[in-house]
């Protein structure tokens, strides 16, 4: 995962500022070494000491963006439980039905090599 970060960081850095001085190149690495910094929420210059702090910050961002930061704790728990049960239902349904749907879709579009040998025999006869 770290290697992934380095490569992604390199690519984006080369796009955004194409003239990096030697000082900037050395300055990049301490930031990259801070654990678990991926670009999804811009945790650019924050120093997280451990995973727990990072997750707490992510939860804080979720509260801010959905706007439930302003609600009472019991309202927060109601919203969280409704959202969690909705996501759990989505996950369960996808687990049960996605393979079946994918199989049917492949059969529909690529029936020439998805079909069973019996049907071609039936056509010849």
């Amino acid at each position: 995962m770290r290697r992934l970060f380095y490569s992604r960081g390199d690519a984006s850095c080369s796009l955004s500022s194409y003239r990096l001085t030697a000082e900037e190149k050395t300055r990049r690495f301490p930031l990259a070494e801070t654990p678990l910094l991926f670009a999804f929420p811009p945790a650019g210059r924050m120093n997280f000491k451990n995973m727990r702090e990072y997750l707490a910050w992510l939860y804080y961002q979720y509260l801010l963006i959905t706007g439930i930061y302003v609600l009472e704790p019991w309202e927060k728990s109601i919203f969280n439980s409704v959202l969690f049960s909705a996501i759990a239902m989505v996950v369960y349904t996808s687990y049960v039905f996605v393979p079946i749907h994918v199989h049917l879709a492949l059969e529909f579009f690529f029936e020439n090599f998805g079909g069973q040998p019996e049907s071609t025999m039936a056509l010849m006869n």
Binding site: S17, L20, R27, A32, P42, G44, R45, V70
Partner: protein, 388 residues
């Protein structure tokens, strides 16, 4: 960082307030009467002359309340059969005054001169709505600095339009008087425009002068007419003596008439603070509205949840800020509004900027996509999101 104390005259210094305390002893706390009956004091007339001299106009009139200056005087100036062309983001007092007057109101897009010209052209061509008669008066209402945006009205262009279409201009300088311009005379000085071009100049003493009340200034005929026909002049009680003294003292200090360089020092300090603060915030990556000269700095927060979180975080770091949300601003454009003051020192501003940096990282408020010039940090999250 949120008070309207632009020149620092709201300070609590016993030496400076000696004359004000003296006036309280002599005249009491309030006048309890209108200007037309027994409430007219010498110091009111002196202050009116002082305000007229400060602004460079023929004469002026002061009122006890800034909001009432707008809402009670516009009905005296325009009536039914007149047209009021007002900016989208005008203050409630202007809107209330316009509605009370009974005139037709048309709104143009904020600071957009094409929209204004189109409105004026259409108004002059088609006249009143049903009878098609020409309008009796067309009054353009703008503000010097808009308090929620920090933007400055485009005065030279508005004056050119006003002359072309023969309209009148009402300029509300509540936030800009004393705060912009090389010697604090407001937006007319900022744009080098003669004050005689603006028909009605209005302002308040609440912001830069540390007092209360408002004034209307302009030609002598206009002010004499308002003295007898305005509701506020006839029925509202006069400005109270200690407040009049505070305004007089502040204005004399700004004009340099009390013999010291204090006024000019404060104006320059405010201008420097404004430039420094705005430049630093932009460099950090916040999105800021407004003109580069205006001491009102709105930092956009956008999300309603972040409004509350920002105020709390800054308060924990012992900085008080003003955050503004839905009814005053559009619901998706919540902001934190900083008002700079001449009494802010460089250390105070540096401290605030440092904490803003921390809070901006914590809450992900650095939305700006400009290339940062002073901070060579190319792998910051927002940049890589945009470019990759």
């Amino acid at each position: 960082m949120g008070s309207y104390n632009y020149l620092g005259f709201a300070e609590n210094n016993a030496d400076f307030l000696k004359t004000v305390a003296d006036k309280v002893q002599r005249y009491g706390a309030g006048v309890c009467s209108t200007r037309q009956e027994i409430g007219n004091l010498n110091m009111h007339q002196e202050l009116e002359q002082l305000v007229a001299h400060f602004l460079g106009v023929e004469s002026s009139m002061i009122f006890g309340m800034g909001f009432a200056t707008n809402s009670m005087n516009i009905p005296a100036l325009v009536g039914k059969g007149c047209l009021i062309v007002s900016d989208e983001l005008n203050h409630t007092s202007l809107i209330l005054g316009a509605r009370l007057s009974g005139a037709t109101i048309r709104v143009f897009k904020h600071n957009n001169m094409h929209s204004l010209e189109k409105l004026l052209r259409e108004a002059v061509c088609s006249g009143q709505p049903r009878t098609r008669r020409p309008w009796k008066k067309i009054l353009i209402m703008v503000e010097g600095i808009y308090s929620m945006e920090g933007s400055v009205a485009r005065l030279p262009e508005i004056i050119a339009l006003k002359k072309k279409y023969k309209a009148y201009l009402y300029l509300d300088e509540a936030h800009s008087i004393g705060a912009v311009g090389p010697s604090g005379r407001g937006v007319t000085e900022l744009f080098n425009v003669s004050p005689a071009d603006v028909d009605v100049m209005m302002g308040t003493f609440t912001k830069s002068f540390g007092a209360a009340g408002g004034y209307i200034a302009g030609k002598k005929d206009l002010v004499d007419y308002l003295r007898s026909h305005s509701h506020s002049a006839v029925y509202a009680s006069a400005m109270s003596p200690p407040i009049t003294e505070q305004v007089t003292r502040a204005m004399k200090c700004i004009m340099g008439q009390d013999g010291s360089m204090e006024g000019i020092r404060r104006i320059r300090q405010l201008a420097e603070n404004t430039r420094y603060f705005r430049a630093k915030l932009k460099d950090m990556g916040f999105i800021i509205y407004g003109d580069d000269d205006s001491p009102v700095v709105p930092v956009l927060l956008y999300m309603p949840g972040k409004v509350v979180a920002f105020a709390r975080e800054m308060l924990e770091r012992r900085i008080g800020v003003v955050v503004v949300g839905f009814p005053a601003t559009p619901i998706t454009e919540a902001r934190a509004r900083f008002c700079l003051s001449a009494s802010h020192t460089r250390e105070i501003l540096d401290q605030v900027l440092h904490h803003m940096n921390e809070v901006g990282d914590l809450l992900c408020l650095k939305f700006s996509r400009r290339k940062r010039s002073s901070w060579p940090d190319p792998c910051k999250g927002t940049n890589s999101e945009v470019d990759s």
